[in-house]
């Protein structure tokens, strides 16, 4: 793929490759114009969990962050290069779920669903984990390439909470990285996790809802089979079927327009 000049210096010793300082030095912030990119990263999460702070830290942009739920209502895009690869990163509007109908939630859902990013980073507030996981689980229903950024760890500590990130990683089946993006803590590890998932070094086994309720199983299976026949490459046929059965008219319209194709929907990326 495209080369990144003068960033990736081969690690002088074995130990360097594991050192945070070396990793951080390997980050090249590309600002608003990533040029050619190898991977697309989407940044999703509840409102006010620090997505824009993570975005700024990775791209070197200074998009205004505010202590303010709903600050980002449109997508912001930027780029960075890390260890030989170029990434385009898209900051999505903060949403509590991907199931409802307001415009900002649609922007987020459409991008994860139709834009098919290589990695979706779900930024969650460590001090409000339960509510934040609702969105994370919905994202995992749609995509199997995700990283959980356990942000605001400093705040969780201040509230006397300890979060077991390893347990969480086991349960969710994706890499979990504790961070405090405001102070830059944990960002090197986040970069590494993004790179691992993007390049396929780490394969996620995402948590999926354990069992369909018996009442809907037959209907669901029938629909999934039908969707698979039309789009054999679709990674999330079961979720699409669930939403269609749930009466999601938006998704039905997208299906009608042919936006659900197996190939990456360029229109959704470009617009």
């Amino acid at each position: 793929m495209s080369e990144v000049p003068n960033t990736a210096i081969a690690p002088p010793t074995e130990a360097c490759a594991k050192c945070e300082v070396y990793r951080a030095a390997n980050l090249k912030k590309l600002g608003v114009n990533p040029g050619q990119w190898d991977h697309i990263v989407a940044l999703a999460g509840n409102p006010n969990t620090g997505k824009s702070t993570v975005f700024n830290a990775l791209t070197g942009l200074r998009q205004h962050t505010g202590n303010w739920p709903g600050k980002t209502v449109t997508r912001a895009e930027g780029g960075f290069a890390y260890a030989d690869r170029r990434y385009k990163i898209v900051d999505l509007p903060g949403t509590y779920s991907l199931l409802s109908t307001s415009l900002d939630e649609e922007v987020a859902r459409d991008f994860i669903l139709f834009g098919q990013p290589d990695v979706t980073v779900v930024v969650v507030d460590a001090s409000r984990l339960e509510r934040n996981l609702n969105l994370a689980l919905q994202v995992l229903e749609i995509t199997d390439r995700a990283v959980l950024c356990l942000n605001l760890m400093d705040e969780a500590r201040r509230h006397g909470l300890t979060v077991d990130d390893r347990q969480l990683a086991r349960d969710l089946g994706i890499p979990v990285v504790p961070t405090s993006a405001r102070s830059g803590e944990g960002l090197p590890a986040l970069l590494q996790a993004i790179a691992d998932v993007a390049t396929g070094r780490v394969v996620c086994r995402p948590h999926r809802l354990e069992q369909e309720p018996p009442a809907v199983r037959a209907a669901l299976n029938e629909l999934v089979a039908q969707i698979r026949r039309m789009h054999p490459d679709l990674p999330n046929a079961r979720w699409v079927a669930m939403r269609l059965l749930g009466g999601d008219e938006n998704l039905a319209a997208a299906l009608q327009r042919g936006e659900l194709g197996g190939q990456r929907a360029q229109a959704a990326v470009a617009s």
Binding site: R62, G66, N67, G70, V73, L99, L168, E222, Q256
Partner: protein, 480 residues
């Protein structure tokens, strides 16, 4: 691929959707509910396994105590008023001296140098006038009038925002919005509008009901934006602050600006009420507003980003529009139509209307020139006033701005242009109530996709502005 498709009948999207509809009717359970319940249950289970809470009982945190005070029914509004008044007061007392110093440098020293330079380069008189007396002076003026208040006001506002106070304001206003038939989240787009109305209009996307979103868009212009704060602060300082002894001047002017901002909120509520009882009738939707934790703002970073994002951004916009406006003003002052300059000709017609509204022709003309950016209203007013009064002592020739080294000079110039306290008050009102800037109008069009609603959003505030200033002027003249 082909072999698979020959084996199984091809499926079209329509088939799938039809099938889904049928299955949906046949399935007893509500799949949407089932899905949501399953997700919530799993999230609770996973979170429970990962999060450990130490045994100590939760003591009331600072956050909760602060919230109890800041969003209390009794103290919520008074604290809000005090905080806003304090911000304006710091801005007003802090920006006076640096404004004078910048004007001294840019106009007092650099301007004569540029004039000499232009002469020595042998530029024709009209080019020299256009560039040095029109374009350069208007730019210098914008910088000296606007930079200091913005460099103080925006960081203060951003600090408050980063601390997490604005959602509390939204919380306080929520009940009022519900009562007038609007969405509680409208208070958020209203707060965004205090920065920039175009941004406020985009921010209404968080409202999912189209009716309530339209209400929020139509009333966003009643939030004083970045471009209008300097006008409010300057006019209040010159005309309102001077009504009281010097030691109270700052406080009283800050109070006046706060009052205008509050009046804007009042108009937002009143217009939302009127619309939701006439053309935009409908149900109020419920929503949950999450109050984010208070976060200690990082002082230096906030200072930096607010200077870059807001101060320099607004200043740059002002300069970009001031350059052509300066040229237009200079030209209109120097192009003659039948013996009088074009500007005087236009003002001759605008003046009777202006006077009826307690304003004057200069102000109306300035608001037409300033449609692209509210930021340049005051510089334009001053340039045009010099032109009308022909204040030879201050300016040098038609359409040339003067040395603005003190607020007193501005005051005496405006008074020479026939300004009274009524003009000042009505200008502050008209600055609150007039058409949005062209960027906002365009944004409204993009967001609503409707020329009709764009026209309503543009003309409604203007009509209100005419009505209110006319009423104030009539009562004022009748009473005095």
């Amino acid at each position: 691929m082909a072999s698979i498709q020959t084996g199984v009948a091809a499926v079209s999207a329509t088939d799938i959707i039809e099938n889904a509809r049928r299955l949906r009717r046949e399935t007893a359970a509500d799949v949407h509910e089932v899905l949501v319940e399953a997700i919530y249950a799993d999230a609770a289970r996973i979170a429970d396994r990962a999060v450990a809470r130490p045994g100590r009982p939760a003591r009331p945190t600072l956050d909760r105590t602060l919230d109890r005070i800041l969003t209390s029914r009794v103290w919520g509004f008074p604290i809000m008023l005090l905080l806003f008044a304090l911000m304006f007061w710091l801005t007003i007392i802090g920006s006076n001296v640096p404004s004078g110093m910048i004007a001294d440098q840019l106009v007092g020293r650099l301007w004569p140098v540029l004039r000499e330079l232009a002469t020595s380069l042998g530029l024709p008189w009209w080019l020299k006038g256009l560039l040095v007396d029109g374009v350069y002076l208007s730019t210098a003026w914008v910088i000296s009038v606007m930079l200091p208040p913005m460099a103080i006001f925006f960081p203060l506002f951003t600090l408050l925002e980063d601390f997490g106070y604005l959602p509390r304001v939204a919380f306080n206003l929520d009940r009022a919005f519900k009562q007038v038939g609007a969405h509680g989240k409208q208070s958020m787009s209203l707060m965004m509008g205090f920065g920039c109305n175009a941004a406020g209009v985009v921010a209404t996307r968080i409202i999912d009901s189209p009716r309530e979103r339209l209400l929020a868009i139509l009333t966003n212009n009643f939030s004083l934006c970045n471009g209008r704060w300097p006008t409010q602060i300057l006019i209040a300082t010159i005309f309102i602050g001077s009504l009281v002894p010097a030691q109270w001047a700052g406080l009283v002017s800050a109070g006046a600006v706060t009052a205008v901002a509050l009046l804007g909120i009042g108009f937002t509520l009143a217009v939302s009420w009127a619309l939701s009882r006439t053309v935009l009738r409908g149900e109020v939707s419920a929503f949950s507003l999450e109050l984010p934790p208070y976060r200690p703002p990082r002082f230096w970073q906030t200072l930096y980003t607010s200077l870059i994002d807001r101060t320099i951004f607004v200043l740059w916009r002002a300069i970009v529009f001031a350059v052509p406006a300066g040229a237009v003003i200079w030209l209109s002052a120097n192009l003659n139509v039948g013996g009088v300059s074009l500007a005087q000709y236009l003002m001759h017609y605008a003046d009777p209307v202006g006077v009826l509204l307690g304003l004057n022709g200069v102000i109306l003309l300035a608001y037409i020139i300033a449609i692209p950016a509210n930021e340049i209203v005051i510089p334009t007013v001053l340039m045009l006033t010099v032109l009308v009064t022909g204040s030879q002592g201050i300016g040098e020739g038609a359409g040339v701005m003067f040395e603005l080294d003190s607020l007193d000079a501005t005051r005496s110039l405006l008074e020479a242009g026939g300004w009274t306290l009524l003009t000042a008050v009505n200008l502050m009102l008209f600055s609150l109530l007039h058409n949005p800037c062209s960027t906002t109008i365009y944004t409204i069009y993009k967001e609503t996709g409707s020329a009709k609603w764009t026209a309503v959003a543009t003309l409604l505030p203007l009509a209100l502005g005419f009505a209110v200033t006319f009423a104030v002027a009539t009562v004022w003249r009748w009473a005095s």
